[in-house]
Amino acid sequence: MNVREVVNSLSLEVQSAKGNLEREVTGCYISDLLSDVMAHAQAGELWITLQTHPNVVAVASLKNLAGIIITNKRIPEEETLRKAEDERIPIAVSPSSTFEVGGMLFKMLRC
């Protein structure tokens, strides 16, 4: 399953790097703590978080993640989206909670 399929299934709104959604999703990591993501996230995973500041792009890039899903109707900062475009990191937003987005993604990836 690639990023585009996840986005479509969960009706997410993509706000950056719309041309880079073909990447295969290997799993998912949920955390709002950057140090935690740096320590445990794996390449190719989708990252679900509430954090909206530009540092998330740097982390996603360093860890070679497939993309970031920001939940709870949070709005990524302009600088965050700008950096995400530059780094070609897809950022999608969801009005639902982390628990629900994670729960639905778990179902999708495990089948």
């Binding site: 703590l33 950057l34 500041h53």
Partner: protein, 147 residues
């Protein structure tokens, strides 16, 4: 039916003291529960106070939290000695934060503190002088339960 007497008190808050952070709000919450304030009101007061306390601890050198509980309302005033806020309107935006990264790693600094306080209060006032400090005052009305 006798009216309850006013209760007031204050707590000293130390900037950077994350070990004890939240202790003052927790005590105030217990006090409100003990005097029989309705749970929904206790919850709002606890949340608003907690956010205010955390702001002092995250941003200021020190501060004082003063509370006054009358039969009609709960008033909590937080005075701090800290950097002050240059642009209050900006600070009131959800998600706007000046907290350093290490604070974010502790789970704070998401920029929801002041908006949360305002949301949970019936009246909200904030004053600040850059280089000196900030005062935030919240008032929550109590509906007296019929005995």
């Amino acid at each position: 039916m006798t009216q309850r007497k006013n209760i007031e008190g204050s707590f000293h808050l130390t900037g950077g003291d994350f070990t004890n952070a939240g202790g003052a709000s927790s005590e105030l919450k217990s006090l409100l529960i003990n005097i029989g304030i309705a749970p929904a009101i206790v919850r709002r007061a606890a949340i608003a106070t907690f956010e205010g306390e955390m702001n002092v601890i995250i941003h200021a050198v020190a501060g004082v939290m003063h509370y006054l509980v009358t039969p009609g309302y709960i008033k909590v005033t937080l005075n701090d000695m800290g950097p002050g806020i240059p642009d209050i309107a900006q600070a009131m935006q959800e998600g706007y934060s000046t907290a350093p990264d290490w604070v974010r790693e502790m789970g704070w600094g998401a920029g929801m503190g002041l908006p949360n306080m305002k949301k949970n209060a019936d009246e909200f006032r904030i004053d600040s002088i850059v280089g000196e400090g900030t005062t935030v005052e919240i008032l929550i009305k109590i509906k007296e339960e019929l005995l």
